[in-house]
Symmetry: D3
Subunit: 163 residues, 6 copies
């Protein structure tokens, strides 16, 4: 029967003990979407300021958040990411942005939470910068697309991402 | 024509100047959902540890994240929240958790980002604690339900929340 | 019957709502002790480096920790202290250091936790810097000595501090 | 003659150079106590909310603080803990809580400060959540119980802990 | 005779007590320069990527650092900036970048340190992003240009800035 | 042709991927100067409080900032420094302080940014503590003096430091 690894036998939260795990190369790829008015998307992507700071700011916010994941998620291990990339693109149907993050580590733990935190904070940053023109935006589809490395090996989502 | 308040005339990111705004009571209410296998939800809500630490940990993570919003979202003002509450409940159809946050401030800026950050980080914490049993969980429906106070007044989403 | 103000009716943790409280001048005074070998104390206070960096480092660590209390204590409100002082003195009987902190705020919440956090982190810093010569040191007597301001008014501990 | 390793020859604070130390498995076990009115303890442990959020919140606060030790204690090295556990139990004589933390690392430095910081912040969190019903609580007996690994080898306190 | 306000009568560091100061509007304007090879500047300003992420990243880093000044500078008061802007421009003679920051607050303390921290961290970010092509860059001329508000009133540097 | 390693082919900021780099011993040595009135320097170095807390506070601030470099500089990798030292000395001609920092790491990335951040924050701390007596101080000459280790090998500035 599966068990919650983050709870001990009495139900108390604990950081999972990874002392005995091997240091190996690990990677995770996650995705989020920000749904918005087509006009808002047009203003971000193709507006007056073609390379304005909205996408750059969200990209930086996502990268910086990945580094702080262990400060936000109580039972995450602190770790030293060896790579983080965040990309933002208009989705095919013009209904919003697709945000993706790829994180890498040579270490003892997976980096799924770092990639998921990066896309979440990048999405929140887009919301923040555009909320004055479109308060009804919605962040959706935050999910892991793929992970590699570690004991549980390769995993990918059953439906593919857009990126 | 609407403009992005967080960009100056050249497209450069800036913190919006609120020096001249009145100090007033402000409030925001946001929501997120974590979709999961019904069995995962059952384990969280009605499992062996009826009040185990998963919901408590997510609640605390959400409250603490609300206080750190300005460290994560580059152009958010630092502020001193006067109240934060985070609740987690199984959704009606048994397909996941509904997470809500309510934040208050007596200050010069709205607290939407604080409420949205709280639900996002609480949702990520649920993902982290349950990922070993259900890696395909998805975080969805992160949105503002209602805001009060400030110059823009009362606003609520056109479709209601579950909470 | 007294109730835990930090739990709601279902037992869930929450930040206490202080939105309606008055902004007023508040003050707290706390104390901690670090028990150590008399030789260790002698080395700190009267050694080769009479004003060496041990006490200065602990003082700075305490002041900086006071400012970060809300990041450490989950339900504490973020606040902007208007004054913090940390003092360290050898105690009368030569068995250790007495550490005191005084914090002030013009705000809506008490600052007891800030003063208690300051003395705790200052004490931990002394332990860190001296542990190579005296690993058996003990931190003890962390307590509030006095608080002023706010609805609950003036309070002082029944046994006085040394400071 | 013993020397303060955290001061250089002129008395100036420095981070100890561990570049040449071996990466090895290290462990520390620390303890703190929170003395309180028996009625307060009864409310926490055996009250209306038998698994209410007070103990869970303190546990989470302690684990999160362990990860931030190097931000609080000026000369501590940043490190990536591989395991952290925090437990809280009523002490035998009904006069308070005993808090214990166990931290592990595969690295170049000991983790005593991480374990001591975890119990200190967990204790402060208990104080914070219960202070409205019992302001005279006292935190005491913060000490290292045992450490393993590294050049200085195995060490344990001369009087045992309760845990 | 002038005295260091941040030291008490015994020479110990303290946070200056501003409890009794009036809340008023305050403003500071600071500047830094990054000297570099003309070719490096050309690549940043007029290269293949005319609005590439270097300037945007530095701008964001400066704004975010302003909000964290009190975490970096031990005796600075925490405060809630109401406005922060950071600008980067090539200097007239083509020898580097001029970075300027303007911070505002409605509060009890000046915001010089916030503006100075913003330009310093923006400059360090430029160095970081360009160091692989020009390791000999130098950051220079970090200084306050002007401050307004508070008891000490209006102050401006004797030689003007470039901005 | 040299390229900015921190930008991808489209000009977007990214954290450089160091996953494949060897763990090796790395070191960096950086310098900054704080220019001030001779009287200010005299008060710091040779005043009433010969070992007062100004230099100690700046030293501690610099060491703590080195550990937080990756939180400030958006594309810096988080890393666990094995050594950090910060020194402050009056410069020969009596016109200010020379601040130096030496950082070490056994890891995959250089530590130039850590040493540069340490001297910058130490310099800002001196400015903060002395600004009430000498607001016109200027921080200048922030530069790398030397780096060792890693693929790019040994590098030193063409004009030597004072330290």
């Amino acid at each position: 029967m599966p068990m919650f690894t983050h709870l001990d036998e009495s139900g108390a939260a604990r950081m999972v003990d990874v002392t005995g795990k091997d240091v190996s190369e690990r990677e995770a790829h996650a995705e989020a979407r920000v749904l918005m008015q087509p006009e808002t998307l047009r203003m971000i992507i193709a507006g007056e300021h073609p390379k304005g700071d909205i996408l750059a700011t969200a990209r930086i916010a996502g990268i910086m958040a990945a580094k702080r994941t262990h400060e936000l998620i109580p039972l995450c291990h602190a770790l030293n990411l060896t790579s983080t990339r965040v990309t933002l693109n208009g989705c095919e149907r013009g209904t919003g942005l697709v945000i993706e993050a790829r994180c890498k580590l040579a270490g003892r733990t997976g980096v799924e939470m770092e990639a998921l935190t990066a896309v979440s904070v990048a999405a929140l940053t887009v919301y923040d910068m555009c909320k004055a023109v479109d308060r009804g935006m919605e962040i959706t589809g935050i999910r892991l697309l793929e992970k590699k490395g570690g004991r549980s090996g390769h995993w990918h989502a059953t439906s593919p991402g857009d990126g």
